[in-house]
Symmetry: C2
Subunit: 186 residues, 2 copies
DNA sequence: CTTGACAAACCGTCCAGACGGTATGTTTAT
DNA sequence: ATAAACATACCGTCTGGACGGTTTGTCAAG
């Protein structure tokens, strides 16, 4: 009964809708288009409703960031679980996730938004924190120059997808992934 | 006589000052801090004066972008001029410039600003154009997967510098550059 | 060498709109 | 009943930019 789908109000659903709309807006029209008015209206909620879920704009962006990082983390963990080799495991997971981001449907939320977030000094610092945590966590298995190089290349590919600047064809993309995976084992 | 330095007014100097101030502001306080008021005031010019040089804000950002790309291009050309080997020459120049951006004094203007610009859809498109032009230009010598990989890695390093997220020590950095340069010749 | 006409460079002010946020009401679920 | 989940109305501030005026440079005619 508790989780029977009550029809009238679904706060969690509204919350998600708001985050998704904010992501879409930043993707399509840049960070400047992410205003409380625009987001709430596009989500079919009043501005008051939006401010009920997120007390201020920074809280909205923070939540967006949390959402993104959480998805990224879980994708990484999942990828690592299916990898029997210890050496470079984190790097391979990183590679797989970054290369896959292009095709995913969920990826839309990422793209432009990510850069927009990184333009905000506050969130830039939070991202820095995340990187430091993860790299320290897997320093034993993924700190070799080759692994570092592979991850940097993955970032480059991710950035390229973000900008749609390169239009790498699928076969070349596969070759790159293969080369980088090989690097993680050397 | 025509180009004798007249003391009273130096429009080109003012124009440069405005661009530099805009770059500095975006670097230190994020893109949101780049307002006509803030830029003009920090540059010691009235808002009217700013709007005389740049008819609107977009024109200011566009000029900023042009300035950045021009510097990048000339740095690339200079690097290429000192490289006798044809194969992968562009890639090596790209690597050199990207790796050097961290240390340069002028690089300050880059950093945050670049990301801020890329967050603007209009400028994102212009950047895409630039990439397309340059990669087409050097398709004959720099289109191998290894070169592509190296350039992606350079982008990753550049991004890392931008975020100050990695803090790569100098020796590791040198190793990476060496490995990537080698890739451009394979 | 003036002088006057004209243009470029620059200033100071004002305004309409947008934006973030508050205060308060109304509906819905438990 | 009570609290969460919304809606409506409104306010203060900031921002882009328009506008009219003022100073500074240029140049040619007298």
């Amino acid at each position: 009964m508790t989780n029977a789908p009550s029809r009238k109000k679904q706060p969690q659903r509204v919350r998600r809708q708001l985050l998704e709309v904010a992501a879409r807006l930043s993707l399509e029209q840049g960070i400047a288009a992410v205003t409380l008015d625009a987001v709430s209206q596009a989500a079919g909620v009043s501005k008051g409703g939006l401010l009920h879920h997120f007390p201020n704009k920074l809280a909205l962006l923070d939540a967006l960031f949390d959402d993104l990082v959480a998805r990224f983390d879980s994708a990484l963990d999942e990828a690592m679980a299916g990898d029997g080799v210890e050496k470079g495991r984190f790097t391979r997971a990183y590679l797989g996730v970054c290369f896959a981001l292009d095709a995913e449907a969920e990826a839309q939320g990422w793209q432009m938004l990510t850069i927009a977030l990184l333009a905000e000094p506050h969130l830039k610092a939070r991202w820095r924190e995340w990187v430091a945590r993860r790299t320290a966590e897997f320093a034993a298995t993924d700190s070799s120059p080759n692994c570092l190089l592979a991850r940097f290349a993955a970032d480059g590919v991710w950035l390229s997808d973000l900008m749609r600047s390169h239009d790498i064809d699928a076969s070349t993309r596969a070759i790159l992934l293969q080369k980088l995976n090989a690097l993680s084992l050397e």
